[in-house]
């Protein structure tokens, strides 16, 4: 399927682009910024879905994303405040935001079932990419123990989102009829 393929390409692009494949070790203020940005991106995507979709499962999933990512980002903000750390913008955050803005524009042109499928497929790909970045880069690079543990909890949450998105995608596939 085209949407599946494009999502896969997007995921690969995210993984191999400078966005999440920098060699340089990230600092805690940078890691905090990336993690927060990743959450903001998913909230924006979910809000677009809530505005555009009429599918019950897609809307419920989007609501879950808004609720969870807001809760996690609030925890992240509380932590940086407590640690007296100012999140620092960086190339990874910038590339993530740029890619996300492109994706929002791309999905904005779709409607109905085509939108639903593209949104959920991108959610699968996006969470997969973020989880990979958390596992291989952000968690190992984090120096502060509390930041590391928040990222580890974040990883479990986002792995849950990925599975949830895969389930929703499977129901969309069923309702449309598999190719």
């Amino acid at each position: 399927m085209f949407t599946r393929l494009s999502a896969a390409i997007a995921a690969i692009a995210l993984l191999t682009s400078p966005a999440l494949a920098q060699g340089a070790k990230l600092t805690d203020p940078q890691i905090a910024h990336i993690a927060y940005t990743a959450g903001v991106i998913d909230i924006a995507a979910a809000k677009q879905a809530l505005a555009k979709s009429t599918n019950k499962d897609v809307k419920a999933f989007a609501e879950d994303m808004v609720r969870d990512h807001e809760a996690v980002n609030k925890q992240a903000l509380d932590l940086v405040k407590k640690l007296n750390v100012t999140p620092q913008d960086n190339d990874t955050s910038k590339t993530l935001s740029k890619n996300a803005a492109d994706k929002l524009a791309e999905l904005g042109k779709l409607n109905g079932a085509a939108f639903d499928k593209a949104y959920v497929a991108n959610e699968v790909a996006y969470h997969k990419a973020v989880n990979n970045a958390l596992e291989t880069q952000l968690i190992p690079s984090a120096s502060n123990g509390e930041l590391k543990s928040l990222l580890q909890t974040g990883l479990k949450i986002f792995q849950g989102h990925q599975q949830h998105a895969e389930q929703v995608l499977a129901t969309l596939d069923q309702s449309v009829g598999r190719k």
């Binding site: 879950d64 849950g160 599975q163």
Partner: protein, 110 residues
Amino acid sequence: MKPKWFSPRFVAFVLIALVVGTPISARAATIQISVENLEFSPAEASAKVGDTIEWVNKDVLAHTATARNGDWDVMLPPKKSGTLVLKKAGTVDYYCRFHPNMKATLTVAP
């Protein structure tokens, strides 16, 4: 003549019977399962029909305890508890609908 069953004693007995609901011999227990950091703990719990399961959600996230067989679906709001009175014996696998990677098993004896 005032009938006997309106006596305060009898009324109190009826009220207690209503509140307790089940025969005293059933000794229904409340079993707590904690939900923290996206884990049900203990992941394998045992109980009896009539017991109450109380899931104590310590996360800032909403979770659910949802039976795979469709028998029950308990909402666990952030930092709150959800309860379920067990009505059927059997082994039930359950998970969180929002985070399907959260899985656990409940074994209910008759």
